[in-house]
Every structure is written in structure tokens, then in C-alpha cells.
Amino acid sequence: MNGYTDINSITDPTDFKSTRVPKLFEVDSLLRCHICKEFLSSPMLTHCGHTFCSGCIRRYLLNTPKCPICSKELRESNLCRNVVLEQLVISYKGLRKELLEKVQIQEEPKNVPQVTESLVIENAPVASTTPKPEVIYLDEEDSAFDDSIDEDLTILLESKKRKQTVSIDSILKRPKPPLQRKITTESGTCPICSKVFPIEILMGRHIDECLAVPKPSSNYASNSTYTNSHTSLGKAKSPSTEDQSYYQPKESNTVQQKLTKLDYSSLSTTQLKSKLSKLELPTNGTRNELETRYNEFLILWNANCDSVQPKNPKLLRSQLAKWESAIKVKANGTEKLGKAGWSDLIRQARSTMKSKD
């Protein structure tokens, strides 16, 4: 997955460090892949007890047959799916934003007396100005916490004995502030098409879309579903909108067979091209590009086979196309965002930070 992402959509465990429950930092870290630092996607357990995204570890093992954490010898055949963990990650991703909101420390005037429910409601507009360093979710449903979790959390929070000016209860029950999208008028230049866009659009979805535009020379299927589901807005979709697919995998989307590695030394370019075209992949480019294309598709495909929510193969092809164009862009050195672009991005990140304090 390439393309610049909205800086505000990037989450990491440190988001929890300055909350009421800093230990959630550990939970958030444990559900992430050591390689890509994202939440585990189709987690695979190794025989040495370590866990990585299926795609990440398969890509790594292509060149290095050992575990990235403990250096024990490791082959793809030693990998085993971890379905419960995958579902746990999906579930956690769905409630993370709400969890983060609920444990956020709110700054309130010191002289507020005992906070009551009614006061809390009056305070809601104040809360709504609190910046969210979080992904903005498409799904706004408000139900991730049932009462028992609330209770547990209250106990946890009280055990922290932090100084508070607001009762914990009121924080847990506080109505959710309205969603706010940061509006900025700063602009940047797209590294691919060189057009100027507001930085928000550029970092959010433009580059993804720009990368997804098929090159005239190739026969990649462009797929708007893919583009939409991977913008900063879409990628954090709560599983509640996808329950159906993850508890009862859709037959239509089920990917059949794993692909096997090719022995390139005994394969003519014509044979390689015919393999690629059977997979509906482009057959243009140098021999090296053809091999690289097959290898990357092999990883995407096999990782998809490990997923409890397999994607449509069309999406994998479009993902491959983006990956290839990102590499080309890097090779041509044309992906420069330019000094102005970076300083915009940096300024944006800084202002996010400042408003967080």
C-alpha cells in the first residue's frame, strides 16, 4: 500500500501514553505487526512463537529465511494462521477511536464543583473542540462499550488515583462530540501528476487515486472500490459494518488456491508472460520487472488466502499496480514532495501536536 496518507490518520500506540490508562499503550502495541507497525492483517504465527502480517512475513522470507525477531530459521511452511487474533484485531480497530476518546484527559476549569450529568451535557461543546489525533471513521455508531466494560474501565481508572477535576463516570457517559474534519487551506503538489491540491485532499485520497489510474501501457483493472476503501476515511471502518463478512465469510469473495513460487531459472520469458496473463496481470516490462511483479503478486495473493475477510482479486491487482508505480516513482526520483510540501506536512503535524497538549 503506497501513497502518502493523511498525517492525522496515522495511529500509533503512543496515542495512549498521555491518557488516563497509559497501559493501553501495551495493548495497542501487541496487536501490531513488528514489520509494518500497522495492526496485524491476516496474522501468522511462526513456529518460534512470533506473529506478523501474512504479507509482511512472506515478503521478508522471500529474501531472508529467518524470523525477524529471534533470527531462528523460518520458512513459509512454518507459518500458521491465527484466526482468533485476527478477529480480535478487527474488533479492537473498530472500537479504538472510541476507547481513545473515553480515556482522554479532559482539561476542565479547576473550580468546577461536583460534575453532574446535566453539567456534562453543558460541557459537551467544550469537549468537541478537543482535537482528535485519531483516524476519522466512516462509521459513527456508538456502541462499542457495554456496561460491563464501562465498569471494568472505571475500576481501572480509579486504581490509577489520578488527580481529576471531572468524575470518571461523567467521562465515560459523556456524549460523543461531533466529528470534526480539520479544514486547512494549505496546499501541496502531487508527486505523481504534479498538480496542486489542498494538502488534506492530497494526503487523504488524491495520491491513492492518482496511483490507481491505469497506465496506458498496462491492462490493470482500475477499481474504484479499492480506492474508496483505502482512503484515510475508509481504512478504519468499524467491523460492525462488516460483521456479516467476518463471521460468515462470503463465498463469492473466497479466494481459492495459494500460488506457488516460480523457478525463474527454468522459465522462459514467454512462459513467465503466460503465467502472468493467466493471473490477468500485465505482461509488459523487462524480465526483472516481470519477476518482481509475479513475486509481489504471489505475496499479496497468498496473504489474502490467509485472511478471514479475503478481498476480491481485482483489488489485489490494483494494489499491485500501486505498488509497482510507487517503485517506479522512487526509481525515477520524481516523487519529490518539494520543500514546500514537506514543510506543509510538518507544520500540519506540529499544529496537531500543539493542539494536543
Binding site: Y4, T5, R59, Y60, N63, A331
Partner: protein, 163 residues
């Protein structure tokens, strides 16, 4: 993959450098024109002959990152047994493909370089002169030579911090 991961690191760096007390010797760390080229500034760790001086780091990242390690060199001259005085090249095992782990990030790499400043490895020298002083155990000469070059080549405040 690389871009997304680097974007994530950039976001993390924005949060923890230079405000985080965990990394007092990392003064700056920033991508340049692209996410594949970064620059950093470090200050010499306490209780080492490097204390009180600053050095720039130039970081080049391959598009296969994090499967492959970044390459890091010093931007200004530094006298250290495991650093090539002319090129700034650093001899540090985790920067070799063989010992690199994709679980590490750029901050980890810089922390490892800072550790190397205080814990030189005389068995893999890139600077024979200062490395021989270390082997002989002549610590006052070792410290003296390092400081001599630190005064000459270390970044001054008026050089500004790389940005």
C-alpha cells in the same frame, strides 16, 4: 509498504523528537525532499568524549525498507574507531542486511549509533589511528584526539540545526 511505514515513522518522530526525554541526544530527525532521505542531528552522549558537540546524520532509505536497512553516515567529520573519517561511513552491525531486523525503526538506528559513540568496537575499526589508542588503553590520548576533532568539525550552534 515502505512509504506507509515511513509515514508512520515520521508521525512518531514528530511526537517524540525532540520533546521526548527518552531521546535526549536526538536533536532533530526529519525527512528531506522525499520520505526516502532523512537528516538528523545528534549531540554527544553524556560522559563520553563527544559530550558537548553535535553531528549531523544523513540517512538514505531503500525502497525495500524495512526488509532492508537504511544507510546512515555522518554529515560532518567525526573521529571514532568505527567511523570512516573521510566518508562518514559507520561500521555498525545492525546496518548490515545480515543483522538488520525489519522490526527496528529509524529512531532505534540512531539510538544504536549513539550507543556506538560511547561503546566503540576496536575489533572492526574504520579509523585505525584512534582505534589503536583504544587498543593500547591510552584513554587520555583517545579522548584528546576525539575532542580535538570535535572542536574542529562538530556542528556549532550558529550552524543551526539541520532542517
Amino acid at each position: 509498504m515502505a512509504t506507509k511505514r515511513l509515514m508512520k515513522e515520521f508521525s512518531l518522530v514528530q511526537k517524540s523528537i525532540p520533546s521526548d526525554s527518552e531521546y535526549p541526544n536526538i536533536l532533530t530527525l526529519q525527512p528531506q525532499d522525499t520520505l526516502f532521505q532523512w537528516k538528523g542531528t545528534i549531540s554527544g552522549p553524556k560522559d563520553t568524549p563527544f559530550e558537548g558537540y553535535k553531528w549531523g546524520l544523513i540517512i538514505d532509505i531503500p525502497h525495500t525498507y524495512p526488509s532492508s536497512p537504511p544507510s546512515v553516515k555522518f554529515a560532518n567529520k567525526i573521529c571514532h574507531p568505527n567511523v570512516n573519517f573521510q566518508t562518514g561511513e559507520i561500521c555498525l552491525n545492525i546496518l548490515n542486511q545480515e543483522h538488520w531486523s525489519p522490526a527496528w525503526n529509524l529512531i532505534n538506528v540512531i539510538v544504536a549509533i549513539l550507543q556506538l559513540l560511547g561503546n566503540p568496537e576496536p575489533l572492526s575499526p574504520l579509523n585505525i589511528d584512534v582505534s589503536n589508542l583504544l587498543k593500547l588503553g591510552d584513554m587520555s590520548a583517545y579522548d584528546g584526539l576525539i575532542k580535538y576533532y570535535a572542536v574542529r568539525y562538530g556542528l556549532k550552534d550558529e550552524d543551526g540545526i539541520l532542517d
